[in-house]
């Protein structure tokens, strides 16, 4: 196989691989600087450079190959122990990486290396402690291994095509250069195979699905790079399929007079489409590690430039979130780590004077909490000078207000723009960018001890787990992550406290407002007997909202309202319902803010719960999420059943031992004993073995369904498609068709 005729394809592949390898090289260089001597790291770097050189030669990028050859020489000195991995060496490697990146980019556009080649060679020479002296071509070719690959020196005429070379040869020769990776290790893990460290530390930036080993065009293992546009297209098509299914359902209803929900085939298709949608969304998620490289680099460069010693700590880099969300976070995060390094961390002398270790720490910690990802950027530096902010803001601010003020445009506590972090985005831009992602940013600071910025963003802007409620005769969705609980709120539970309606729950008194009143829905306050209150928790506080009904819990595919409309404080987005209706997704922060200023409504409307006449069937609801437990309790109670609840499998067994139930409804994933194990124990316990079990889970896969039924469950209901009708239908069926009791 020769390159001729396939240049473009091979070059694109090389460009892709070069990007990955160069990132890995930079990452490893910084790792080396932090951990000093590590022969394995040096060997990996050497391998990266060697593979790059081979690839560049194959696709005819002679200038790139010869510069990388110089880099390889430098790394060889490191490997042999002739050179120590100090700051100057790492400077050289990083500068060379930057320059090679530019050269590759130029070469892809058919341009010669320009100034980049000279810059790269100068950087490498400086790192080697030599004057720039490009090697002669013969030497370069010899050192490139025994590959008969013609290389050109940087002085060769720019843009002249390299002669076609045999592809197979360098490929085969290069293979033995990768001895480190054990055959069993997956390609995306091979590079990150350092031993687990006690403190969070950086991992090389290799989580991207590209092959660290092997020639361009032959990604090893089971990962292939896919253009994002293709994934976006898939998401769009899946969305359209779901919409088409809804229309077909409507048509079936109209033309045949049949409820499509009663057709197994229709339900199956709906289920598959939903799963497809979830998986497709998942495919667009990327890990925080994919943006960690530039962040670490920013910290390192600023620290070097300002003569500070700064250690970079990274934790939770495997946390995944929507690619679009993560991309939008890149700049704000770079701004935050720059600030932390430049303004947060003190110079070594100042740290010593304060009795702190000379080396400062800048850390990034990512974690998924419910449907949100929280990314914290912290430092152990001097903290925010609240006095100074007060002086600048020109007002008497509380400490919290002063910390809030730093997000305002034009406010800085640094007198001179420091050249390094003075450029780029400010904190006001950080907040704006995070706000666009429906996220928020908070800051905490302790003088002399450090500062931490916490960015919270939704995992994805596309799918939001929601609690569905009815208020003012309409249904609304409340994002699950901000609903703390749902509690029964009969008229008597709503009391007047200090002139305002309030609800006592969990030993706390919460302000209570009719949801319908906040939404300005017609008939607000007139509906009889509020039966449920949903407690909404936001950074600004907790608030109880009275709703007429808890309808269900479901993932809502949230669409924004378009650019034509202004941002509405009460509405976060809208989803299209299976019946073609529109479900508004409410904005919890906006609701709480609006409820605080809304005129108080008395929650003391009269109304009594219907009391079932016969002894009702008893159902035990097992779920570790309080809101879901209460949601199910509320639905089942309203349908006339007696309901007991338990937060996990062990508690469920204790409850059953105390008093048996006619039906157990259980979640799968719970701490301690999970739903499958609970089902098995129930089946194996003589006294309980005939109790029907309904498994309710967010895991919709066939495998889970099979496991559930194997464990002895009588029915299986996916939570993602769960609503009260489906739940009640399943419950009635399992209890033998009859009405409650």
């Amino acid at each position: 196989v020769t390159v001729t005729g396939h240049e473009d394809e091979f070059r694109r592949l090389f460009e892709q691989e070069a990007g990955t390898r160069l990132s890995a090289l930079a990452e490893r260089a910084m790792e080396l600087e932090a951990s000093r001597e590590d022969p394995a790291l040096v060997a990996e770097m050497f391998r990266d450079a060697h593979t790059l050189k081979g690839g560049a030669a194959v696709v005819g990028f002679g200038e790139v190959a010869s510069v990388v050859h110089e880099l390889e020489q430098l790394l060889e000195e490191l490997r042999s122990g002739a050179r120590r991995p100090d700051g100057a060496l790492v400077d050289g490697v990083l500068a060379a990486v930057d320059a090679v990146r530019e050269m590759v980019e130029r070469a892809m556009r058919g341009l010669g290396a320009g100034a980049a080649a000279g810059a790269a060679l100068a950087a490498i020479a400086a790192a080697r402690g030599e004057r720039a002296a490009p090697e002669r071509p013969a030497e370069a070719a010899r050192a490139a291994g025994d590959d008969p690959v013609p290389l050109r020196t940087p002085s060769a005429p720019e843009g002249s095509p390299a002669p076609p070379v045999a592809l197979d040869e360098p490929v085969q020769r290069r293979a033995p250069v990768e001895p480190q990776a054990p055959p069993s290790s997956r390609p995306d893990e091979a590079a990150g195979s350092e031993p687990p460290a006690a403190t969070p530390r950086a991992r090389p930036l290799t989580a991207v699905p590209a092959a660290p080993a092997g020639p361009p065009g032959r990604p090893a293992g089971d990962a292939i790079p896919v253009p994002v546009a293709r994934l976006d297209e898939l998401v769009r098509l899946v969305g359209e399929s779901a919409a088409a299914l809804l229309r077909i359902g409507g048509l079936l209803g109209e033309r045949i007079g049949d409820d499509p929900g009663a057709l197994d085939e229709y339900r199956e298709l709906a289920r598959v489409l939903q799963e497809l949608q979830e998986r497709t969304m998942r495919a667009r998620m990327v890990s925080v590690a994919t943006i960690a490289g530039p962040l670490r680099r920013a910290v390192r460069d600023i620290a070097r430039a300002s003569g500070k010693q700064v250690r970079w700590e990274l934790a939770g880099e495997d946390t995944e979130l929507d690619r679009h969300v993560l991309e939008q976070l890149r700049e704000p995060l770079v701004a935050l780590v720059r600030n932390a390094t430049d303004h947060g961390i003190e110079p070594p002398a100042e740290r010593a004077a304060r009795g702190k270790p000379a080396e400062g720490v800048v850390r990034l910690h990512a974690r998924q909490i419910g449907a949100e990802v929280v990314i914290a950027v912290g430092d152990d530096g001097r903290g925010i000078d609240v006095e100074r902010v007060r002086a600048r803001a020109g007002g008497r601010l509380s400490e919290a207000e002063a910390l809030e003020a730093i997000f305002e445009a034009g406010l800085t506590t640094v007198d001179e723009v420091s050249g390094v972090s003075g450029r780029g985005v400010g904190l006001d831009a950080v907040r704006t960018a995070v706000g666009r992602l429906r996220g928020r940013v908070e800051v905490s600071s302790r003088p002399g001890l450090g500062t931490e910025f916490r960015i919270s963003v939704p995992l994805t802007l596309a799918v939001l787990p929601c609690l569905l409620v009815a208020a003012g005769g309409r249904r609304y969705a409340l994002p699950m992550h901000s609903t703390a609980a749902a509690v029964a709120a009969p008229p008597a539970a709503v009391v007047s406290v200090e002139g305002r309606p309030a609800l006592v729950a969990d030993g706390d008194t919460l302000r209570f407002t009719d949801l319908a009143a906040v939404l300005g829905a017609p008939g607000a306050g007139a509906s009889p007997g509020r039966r449920t209150a949903v407690i909404v928790a936001t950074p600004s506080g907790r608030h109880a909202f009275g709703v007429e009904e808890l309808v269900g819990q479901r993932d809502v595919v949230v669409k924004d309202l378009g650019r034509l409309l202004p941002r509405l404080p009460l509405v976060a987005g809208a989803g299209v319902e299976p019946d073609g209706g529109i479900m508004l997704v409410l904005d919890p922060d906006g609701l709480v803010a609006a409820a605080r200023v809304a005129p108080d409504t008395a929650g003391a409307a009269a109304g009594a719960a219907p009391v079932p006449e016969r002894a009702p069937a008893r159902i035990l609801v097992v779920d570790d999420t309080l809101t879901i437990r209460e949601l199910q309790r509320s639905i089942l109670r309203r349908a006339g059943y007696e309901v007991a609840t338990a937060p996990d499998g062990d508690a469920a067994l204790r409850a059953l031992a105390e008093r048996p139930a006619d039906l157990v409804v259980t979640d799968v994933e719970m701490p301690g004993m999970d739903g499958f194990a609970l089902t098995r124990v129930i089946r194996e316990t003589a006294a309980l073995s005939s109790t029907p079990v309904l498994i309710l889970t967010s895991r919709a896969g066939d495998e889970d369904r099979r496991r559930g039924l194997e464990a002895g469950a009588d029915a299986y209901l996916a939570k993602s498609g769960f609503d009260q009708d489906a739940l009640l239908a399943a419950v009635r069926r399992l209890l033998g068709d009859g009405e409650p009791g």
Partner: protein
């Protein structure tokens, strides 16, 4: 110019046909809490969520009675539905009848049974016209 004639109250407004995607009869409109008065709510157009706007309110001439018909238009790539209270018709605007007074109008044309004002969608759907919450 081929145009869609949308009756709004006693008036008739014309929209360039190329900007009109379709006309929907009596769509279900979900009101949006906290939205400015010119925003009547949202409708579902085959899976797409489209804001429904009060044409009369956008023009600053009172309120449209209801959403008997909605003309779905596109402005800057964003869909919007304009409420009308009579059935729209397609007409050719070839008899000019003077300049428009309203800022979002680009001219008046004689049509069967009266005069219609041709609207400039970009101006009609500008943020300051739609308003803030």
């Amino acid at each position: 110019v081929q145009a869609l004639l949308l009756p709004v109250g006693a008036d008739r407004y014309a929209l360039e046909l190329t900007a009109v995607r379709e006309v929907v009869r009596a769509p279900a409109v979900v009101p949006l809490p906290g939205a400015p008065p010119a925003v009547l709510g949202l409708m579902n157009l085959r899976g797409e969520v489209v804001p429904v706007l009060d044409t009369a309110a956008l023009l600053g001439s009172g309120r449209t009675g209801g959403v008997a018909f909605a003309a779905v238009v596109e402005a800057g790539g964003e869909p919007a539905a304009l409420a009308g209270d009579g059935e729209p018709a397609t007409v050719a605007l070839d008899r000019p009848a003077g300049a428009a007074e309203r800022a979002a109008g680009t001219g008046r044309f004689a049509v069967a049974g009266g005069v219609a004002t041709l609207l400039d969608l970009g101006a009609l759907l500008a943020p300051e016209r739609i308003g803030a919450p």
